[in-house]
């Protein structure tokens, strides 16, 4: 089976978020770009499955929708262990447009399993994975915290509101994964970094798809009031404030 892991290129999570052009564009000046944390976990799980021959996974490819400036992030995914990469050469504008491009890649290359992280840490949409599935009319499972294969069948743990379910869907399918799918992201070793230099990144031109949404402007979060300190010896004062001032208990 062939696995496709979709990766988003996002600002490092410690980035100080700023905007330019009248608060309509993210200020990428001096920003470190990384693989979106959930996508990194998805890639890690895909590689763990490939390492275990009983899973039936033979190859792991990563796909990214974005311009050539994202190639260092794609190389990182190859260094971690992906076998090959596909980049759709277009500026990502919204989830619908990105999902449509990935769906085209899946149609032309053929994958049995498509993995996506639950959300990207920049747009926080939680939408691309399930959108890909609908474009392809594939089954999709969301909130996935465990993925295995037994006798060629998928064994998927998904979180439901108030518990967990073990489910199975036939391939080809899309799994939208979250915390728990892999313990820690796999780190690139020196050998992987060397090998990544010669692994292929296939660049494909985009399909004509219009975005359905447009960011009008960004805003900073509302500033919070300054912290009121309370003496560690007098927690009753804190409780009184929570009852009478904040009225939350």
């Amino acid at each position: 089976m062939k696995v496709l892991v979709c990766i988003s290129n996002v600002p490092d999570t410690t980035t100080k978020v700023k905007f330019t052009d009248n608060n309509t564009k993210f200020d990428s000046n001096g920003v470190q770009w990384v693989i979106n944390p959930w996508d990194e976990l998805a890639l890690t799980r895909a590689l763990e499955l490939k390492d275990n021959s009983a899973s039936g996974i033979q190859s792991v490819t990563v796909a990214h929708v974005g311009p050539a400036t994202a190639e260092p992030t794609i190389r990182k995914a190859l260094a971690i262990g992906a076998d090959s990469a596909i980049r759709v050469n277009i500026e990502p504008t919204d989830a619908y447009q990105v999902a449509a491009q990935i769906a085209e890649v899946v149609k032309s290359e053929g994958f049995d399993v498509v993995l996506c992280g639950i959300e990207s840490s920049d747009f926080n949409g939680s939408t691309v994975g399930s959108m890909i599935a609908e474009f392809l009319d594939y089954p999709s499972v969301s909130a996935v915290s465990g993925l295995n294969f037994e006798n060629g069948q998928s064994v998927i743990t998904r979180e439901i509101d108030g518990g967990k379910e073990t489910v199975s869907v036939p391939a080809p399918f899309v799994a939208v994964v979250q915390k728990g799918i892999a313990k820690e992201p796999r780190i690139a070793a020196m050998r992987g970094i060397m090998q990544a230099r010669t692994k292929p990144i296939k660049v494909v031109e985009p399909a004509a798809v219009d975005a359905l949404t447009e960011v009008v402007s960004f805003e900073p979060p509302q500033p919070r009031a300054k912290c009121v300190f309370i003496d560690a010896e007098n927690p009753a004062e804190l409780i009184a404030k929570l009852q009478n001032e904040a009225k939350v208990i």
């Binding site: 600002p11 999570t13 410690t14 978020v17 905007f19 989830a95 619908y96 999902a99 639950i118 840490s121 920049d122 747009f123 926080n124 949409g125 939680s126 939408t127 399930s130 959108m131 609908e134 089954p139 999709s140 969301s142 909130a143 915290s145 979180e159 439901i160 509101d161 108030g162 967990k164 379910e165 489910v167 036939p170 399918f173 915390k179 975005a211 359905l212 949404t213 447009e214 960011v215 009008v216 402007s217 960004f218 805003e219 900073p220 979060p221 919070r224 912290c227 300190f229 309370i230 560690a232 927690p235 009753a236 804190l238 409780i239 009184a240 404030k241 929570l242 904040a246 939350v248 208990i249």
Partner: protein, 323 residues
């Protein structure tokens, strides 16, 4: 024209989240000069369905279909899309929870409807249709224009106040042309969390970090949660160490929560943690380091050791509740 709101049920019962999204959908309908229709899927008794009317739904569609007994994203998408077309829905409101996230994006593609995901407020405007949503993991917010004729909004839990109104809703039986043949998901096993308040439902959350020092020190934190009627949570290092189960991890890569009150105990307040909890209405921080970044996010703070402060807090809550 109408606004359609999908209300999930839990063993035939609605919960606060259901009333929140119906209240929200009713207000959106008001903005558009139309009314809200609630869609319930599964076995829910009429007296439970009637409750949705108290939050502004004018019509309630009671849809029972064996193909929808388990969550299969394709079957649910087909069913909701069909109802949305029958009802001429211009806006579809879904909760931004696990179920909503598995259906709303598929509906978006099927109906070619722009999606405003994780909204926490009413739309900024309806002409053009602009929504306000979290971006950059809580480090910013975005005003996003939805440019299609039909729009989908997924509402963040605990972000919209319930509005009760004097209103009677009509209940209609719904029907859709889907059958069991299209269901590809097989459920092999269900493990329900019973008797415990869900982290995402909780109005108060008591969360512990590395400053708790060991898995053995959680008893006073659990007691505080218990006396407050709160859910327990933890930071990422704590779940990585296995001190607490990963379901309790709040933060960017864990659960995103927005309770009325969040206790951060022995949590330094790294950006990644704040990304998951900054929507809380009040944050109380307890930390030995007075310069810890958590105090910048908190409204109330105590500089001190959790092991010493927690038992005193428990006593203070008990005394306050006894009054």
């Amino acid at each position: 024209m109408s606004v359609l709101v999908f209300t999930e049920n839990w063993d035939g019962k609605f919960k606060k989240l259901s009333f929140e999204i119906v209240s929200y959908a009713s207000k959106v309908a008001e903005m558009l000069g139309t009314t809200a229709t609630a869609l319930s899927i599964g076995n829910v008794a009429d007296d439970e369905l009637t409750k949705l009317g108290n939050y502004g739904a004018k019509k309630i569609i009671n849809l029972k279909n064996d193909a929808l007994n388990i969550l299969d994203s394709q079957a649910y998408t087909a069913a909701i899309a069909e109802i949305a077309k029958n009802e001429d829905a211009k806006v579809i409101v879904v909760a931004n929870n696990n179920m909503g996230k598995s259906i709303a994006p598929r509906l978006s593609v099927r109906l070619k409807a722009a999606i405003g995901s994780g909204v926490s407020k009413l739309p900024v405007s309806t002409e053009p249709f602009v929504v306000y949503k979290r971006a950059y993991s809580g480090n910013a917010f975005a005003n996003v224009a939805l440019k299609s004729e039909v729009k989908i909004l997924t509402l963040m839990q605990n972000s919209f106040d319930i509005v009760e109104t004097a209103n009677e809703a009509t209940i209609e039986a719904g029907s859709v042309s889907i059958d069991g043949g299209m269901v590809k998901t097989q459920v092999k096993d269900v493990q329900k969390q019973t008797g415990k308040l869900l982290l995402t439902d909780a109005e108060i959350v008591v969360s512990g970090g590395r400053g708790m020092k060991s898995a053995d020190n959680w008893a006073p934190l659990e007691e505080l949660a218990n006396v407050l009627g709160a859910a327990t949570a933890c930071s990422r290092p704590v779940s990585d160490e296995g001190w607490r189960p990963h379901e309790e991890h709040t933060g960017q890569t864990g659960k995103i929560v927005a309770p009325n009150l969040y206790f951060a105990i022995g949590i330094s307040g790294a950006t990644q943690h704040l990304a998951g909890v900054s929507a809380s209405k009040y944050i109380v921080a307890i930390n030995t380091d007075k310069d810890a970044p958590i105090f910048e996010a908190a409204q109330y703070g105590i500089v001190g050791d959790a092991a010493k402060v927690l038992p005193k807090l428990v006593e203070a809550v008990k005394e306050a509740k006894a009054k």
